[in-house]
Symmetry: C2
Subunit: 431 residues, 2 copies
């Protein structure tokens, strides 16, 4: 197809007319679709039915060590669950704490703890004039929400194909003592699906922070969430915990993970891992906060999966549902937009999103148009701190939840909105 930029003003106007007519057709259909959040579909949730009854009798509720999971105690989580989540996170069981159903909650609490108590003897952040976090962009809106809520100054760090721009990360972390953290989704990053390269992880582990309480918030939410279903197509992420220890920075990284997108988005188990010193301090903190998290649900997960391999097998089934959806969206975008020179996007190797870059200044318009026609997308700007995408270009597409027919319809509508916004921009520029 002819790139829009090579079209004459009349060609642009004619194309716009055609696309606007299509848009009116979409609107007339009374579509009502939500692609705003990375939610597993019903079929994916159904995979975990066995979790509901894997503990069904009173006597099922004991750990191997004899702990009655129904009662109080074991604030750090049951040993079996620490081992399982440790394998997921690349951490020894005794450096893992298993909590409730949400890793976001652990991250929020950890930032909160930074403010109220500090880490390993450092000054609580609430006593400082300024606290800054580095935010690889585009990134996960809820990460940015946590730091915004605590009044942290957020600094955009552009993503590359290998992870965050490490030159910039090193510059900030190694020179500015107000920089206390960085948000990372190291594997199948939200929203781009980028896997941090071995070199990126190595450079992270070799940081020389100006602030001794600088921490990498390593949210490995999609550790097992590849879209490929072939056994050999696994993307490897270097072990940040091991690398930090090897490079003399054992306490520099906090790891987070959950089974929210492995079993139940709303009723999984979540975990924290770090150095022995950080884990001991976290455990002490928790001993004031809670007597114990839901150990029954921890045991349910252990019994349901049996072992880490069981978890991986379940994820292959998830990929079986996810992959065709991503392929479908990708195929329609390709068919509709290829060669027009008005967008960039990739078919990711894993994760929950397709990151779509429209022409500068078009994202908000596209999202609004889609919404008017009944398709809710993640708000434009959400993938940036303060909801402020400086180029108004990035849109996060979440294909997991809708069924195939809906997804097809949504993808065509989306492409249609992209075309209209781009055409209007080009026409305005030429006028």
């Amino acid at each position: 197809m002819k790139p829009y930029s090579e079209m004459t003003i009349d060609e642009l106007k004619n194309t716009l007319e055609t696309e606007k007519a299509r848009y009116e057709e979409f609107k007339a259909r009374g579509i009502s679709l939500d692609m705003s959040r990375g939610m597993p579909s019903k079929a994916q949730l159904d995979l975990s039915e066995g979790l509901l009854t894997v503990l069904s009798k009173n006597e099922d509720c004991r750990t191997e060590g004899g702990t009655d999971c129904r009662n109080y105690g074991c604030v750090e989580g049951i040993p079996e669950a620490r081992k399982l989540m440790g394998e997921l996170m690349g951490a020894p069981a005794d450096q893992v704490i298993v909590c409730g159903n949400a890793s976001l909650n652990i991250m929020f609490d950890t930032v909160s703890r930074g403010f109220t108590h500090g880490f390993l003897g450092s000054t609580p952040w609430s006593k400082l004039d300024k606290v800054k976090f580095l935010c690889p962009v585009p990134g996960y809106d809820r990460h940015f929400g946590v730091t915004e809520y605590f009044g942290v100054e957020m600094i955009n760090i552009p993503m590359t194909d290998e992870g965050p721009d490490m030159d910039l990360v090193e510059k900030y972390v190694n020179t500015d003592p107000a920089v206390k953290g960085i948000w990372c989704v190291p594997k199948y990053s939200n929203p781009q699906g980028i896997v941090y390269s071995k070199e990126t992880v190595e450079r992270f582990s070799k940081l020389q922070p100006a602030a001794k309480d600088f921490r990498i918030f390593w949210d490995n939410a999609y550790a097992l969430h590849r879209l490929a279903t072939e056994p050999d197509e696994r993307d490897e992420l270097a072990n940040i915990l091991e690398r930090c220890e090897a490079n003399g920075n054992p306490d520099m990284v906090f790891l987070f993970a959950s089974t929210s997108k492995i079993t139940y988005a709303g009723a999984g188990i979540a975990a924290f891992a770090s150095s022995k010193a950080n884990v001991a301090e976290m455990k002490k903190h928790m001993s004031f906060q809670i007597i114990s998290h839901d150990k029954i649900n921890q045991l349910r997960h252990v019994k349901f999966f049996k072992d880490f391999n069981g978890m991986k097998m379940q994820m292959d089934k998830h990929a079986g549902f996810m992959r065709p959806k991503f392929m479908l969206v990708n195929a329609i975008l390709k068919k509709e937009l290829e060669g027009l020179g008005i967008s960039r996007y990739t078919l990711p190797r894993g994760g929950y999103f397709i990151s779509f870059d429209a022409m500068e200044g078009c994202a908000k318009k596209i999202v609004n148009m889609a919404k008017e026609a009944g398709l809710v997308l993640t708000g434009a700007g959400a993938t940036f701190p303060y909801h402020n995408d400086p180029h108004d270009s990035n849109i996060r597409i979440a294909p997991s939840m809708p069924e195939k027919d809906e997804l097809e319809q949504a993808s065509y509508l989306f492409a249609n909105c992209v075309k209209i916004a781009s055409l209007e921009k080009l026409i305005a520029e030429k006028a």
Copy 2:
């Protein structure tokens, strides 16, 4: 029996010799018992077996309104659970937020929020030089632990038979703007089992705090935990939320409750209730902290109990297990200690504890002696802020967990330790 205080020094010494011989017998038995925490017994936990499988199929996991509890969303909890917990707490469903498994966690987070963000526009406590909490004593050690952890100055308020000494509460709250909160267990208080009188609740609701962000932390942990099993023997607690609203202080109280001692201590559901304004602010806070708590477990509880009456019926069964244990301990203490003039204790009407007051300066000694003979009691002083009982007198006895034989043994051993410590004190005084 003759009061020890009327004994001659020789009588005291002879009695001591006899009791010490008994103590050695106890020690020789190799006892290993834990009465330190208010933990439900196995038999009590077994009552909730149905909770494990009440949701057993994929299609069971939807709320009446159609929400899929397995997925994300509904940060305030499912409507059915808000209604159920609201009935337990005396609050309308829309003023209730249902969270995870632990009310302590909600209380901790609420204090933490006071420090990081403040309430309804007030200055965050972390920005103040001094924050004080009133602590009715004896009280719940984990409450005091939370405020100690945040560096709050804790002020002891003596308990009366009607609740905290309200003259003192009014004096502090109405004059000192640094007083930001008070910890209350208003029904079957921990450890004394006192029910706050109607007048006490009324005086609470009519406080005129010097600090507009003063909050009553109303932990109604034992709302349904009477020991009597007769239908007509119910203790009524006035509705603090309604009274605060009626008296122009709608935002002054935070209510907390859980099913930890109704279903599973480690895997129940917990809730927060307050005014509309406080609940809206809490919900906003939570929207940064978590996407949703475990709604599956919320729905399990709703389906298991069917309605609030179902919960009350379950509690009558609990009372059937608890009451004989309390009666047994009480009978042995009476048999062993009555008339000796060395102790005060009551058979409470509800809750999880017997509060025992030994002679001044004897509590630590008694707890240590019991421990040496194999009986772990709550640490002496634990019922006071900073673990500091100024009279070294109060001991919290938790009879729920041991079986009858163990409990009998433990009660005799305990009485024996009380006698020895008292005799040694009296002999030292006479010497």
